[in-house]
Subunit: 360 residues, 2 copies
């Protein structure tokens, strides 16, 4: 048995207001006046002067606002890389991603593709990246996905929705400033937070579980319960705790895996473009059979926060469309093996999976 | 307010038996046939062929066995550095520390002093190290100190017991293999585990507490309770959980601090050479006033495991000796401020501290 040599984020700043330290963090990383920093920022901040005024642009530094309405795509990464090459006199000094999982994953992928040939789709898989990525910084503005700490960047490509999993994927620097999450709309807050909650359930009930993943998973799960089921946290406490939950939830998967909800949600995203957070929720809501306790608690959280999930999103799909979803989902073998054990194919047949999707 | 840009261990392998991967981890880090790897190993393993047979020595690689009977000293670091320079044709490829907190701290300090001029004592303090350390790997064989994850290496120097706290101190690679901890003698297991427990109590009750440190501290504390108070863990589970508790306990202090027990225990170590783990226990046993709940639980753990602590170790000390201890201890201002707040000097007077020491 061989264990992963897991690459951790080597630098982290935690604290309310720590986003103010971004400029001083970047300064010593500047490679030259022609090597700009490129800021990829969720376009919800486009008119947010509070955030923009805190970023000092020097020389040829650029902000690129990116919509997170859709899941990140390999073609989008390739287009961003081309734009950045065209706008920069030299290879950039670094890429700074500011936003949720979509922006963080784009920043990770762009920083990889600026130093590796070919197209982003060529690197979807495990350990296909040859050269170290450009220096890249992740600054979450919403919490739950764990993208700030993971060694993957999940992209929808022409043939699959799959991460670029590599030792070069993790950020070189993360800044965890809960103040950036204060204006997240409630539904978004819930869906993204549930991504973390679902990570924990999938990791803690999986066959890959070990003491490393268990300790991180328990910690994140406990924080999620405090945040989504109890009433005694201040807004600030709740925001800071969710930021830590996301971080620990991401770490929990380092030596473990996600499970049924993620495997099915990837299928939804690939076919229907369903965003990852809400997709996980739609799926998880129907997984009592696999995660009885976890789903029960999820339904309580949903009720407590008056969240109504879309229904019937699969009701008009053709058999061919179901097959596409099923193929994408069943292709994620480690997720199924973690969830259901080595003989998972006997449990999760294509027909069984189709029946599950039909409920959604 | 400015927050620390905390350097994390960038690579970690977790898993029972993962020590077997050491050779393959080191191979790509070899700088040349004249640049050896130097293994600093606790001399309790001197006749342990099980461990030694797993280390492949090539070219000029050397094992140096080091006693951990005493706390690590700056003079010991300087002597090791001199030995290593004399025995190596070129600057070594890396330093591998295998042992408890003493060996891990020595390995960190030696790797720093091989690339920085002067003596180890010159670097005791905060952020005094100029050059990046040599590649260094930490492999704990006992759990609790958090030395595998911290940015300090605590050394007793001619004038003070104080860490070399720097961004270059953390290991480049850690291997967490609980199998290495299986033969730790019971008393040692308890004292070192209590170092972790005490970290948690000091961090969680301190004025520096925040959501980052709280989540790590709670996780480590919960693990300590499972290990030291309950009876339902297998040996393997208990060993793996203590390894994670130590890791998380160390992380909890990243954005927080230790407190009264550590401040007083440093005084004992400096004057009497008391080892850190047992020193913490001797002190903590008398700190009901500051940590009522924590000390109550500690006494239950002590009783459950039939641990008898030395008594009266300060009974024959002269006033001059008390003054030395008190000076060392009160010099650790951040620890006192964390424990007792900004006005700590009004609470912890030299006389009050002397009265506390006299109980021990």
């Amino acid at each position: 048995m061989s264990y992963k040599n897991f690459p951790m984020v080597p630098r982290v700043i935690f604290g309310r207001g720590s986003f103010n330290q971004l400029n001083e963090v970047l300064a010593p990383k500047r490679l030259g006046i022609n090597a700009p920093f490129i800021f990829l920022i969720d376009d919800v901040f486009k008119n947010n002067s509070w955030l923009k005024s805190r970023i000092e642009l020097s020389y040829d530094d650029k902000i690129i606002f990116v919509s997170s309405k859709e899941e990140p795509k390999t073609s989008q990464v390739d287009a961003l890389v081309e734009d950045i090459i065209l706008m920069s006199k030299e290879r950039p000094s670094g890429i700074i991603g500011i936003g949720g999982g979509t922006l963080l994953d784009l920043a990770k992928a762009v920083s990889i593709m600026l130093t590796n040939n070919g197209e982003a789709k060529d690197y979807q898989g495990w350990d296909l990246v040859k050269n170290p990525a450009l220096y890249h910084v992740g600054i979450p503005t919403i919490s739950g996905t764990g993208a700030e700490v993971s060694r993957t960047t999940v992209l929808t490509g022409p043939e699959k929705k799959l991460g670029i999993n590599s030792d070069y994927t993790p950020f070189d620097q993360v800044i965890l400033d809960s103040e950036l999450t204060k204006d997240v709309p409630k539904a978004q807050w819930f869906y993204t937070g549930m991504d973390c909650y679902i990570h924990c359930i999938e990791s803690l009930t999986g066959t890959y579980l070990n003491a490393f993943s268990e300790s991180y998973g328990n910690m994140a799960l406990d924080l999620c319960k405090q945040i989504f089921l109890e009433d005694n946290l201040s807004d600030l406490e709740s925001q800071e705790k969710l930021m830590m939950a996301s971080w620990h939830g991401g770490m929990s998967i380092a030596y473990s895996q996600v499970g049924v909800a993620h495997a099915m949600s990837y299928g939804l995203s690939y076919l229907l473009g369903t965003k990852h957070g809400i997709g996980n929720c739609i799926v998880f809501d129907h997984l009592e059979e696999f995660y009885p306790e976890g789903v029960k608690l999820f339904k309580r959280m949903k009720e407590k926060h008056n969240i109504t999930l879309p229904q019937g999103i699969c009701s008009d799909l053709s058999d061919r469309e179901f097959d596409i979803m099923i193929n994408i989902s069943l292709g994620l073998e480690p997720l199924w093996e973690n969830a259901l054990g080595k003989n998972w194919k006997k449990i999760m047949t294509p027909q069984k999976l189709k029946d599950l999707y039909k409920k959604m």
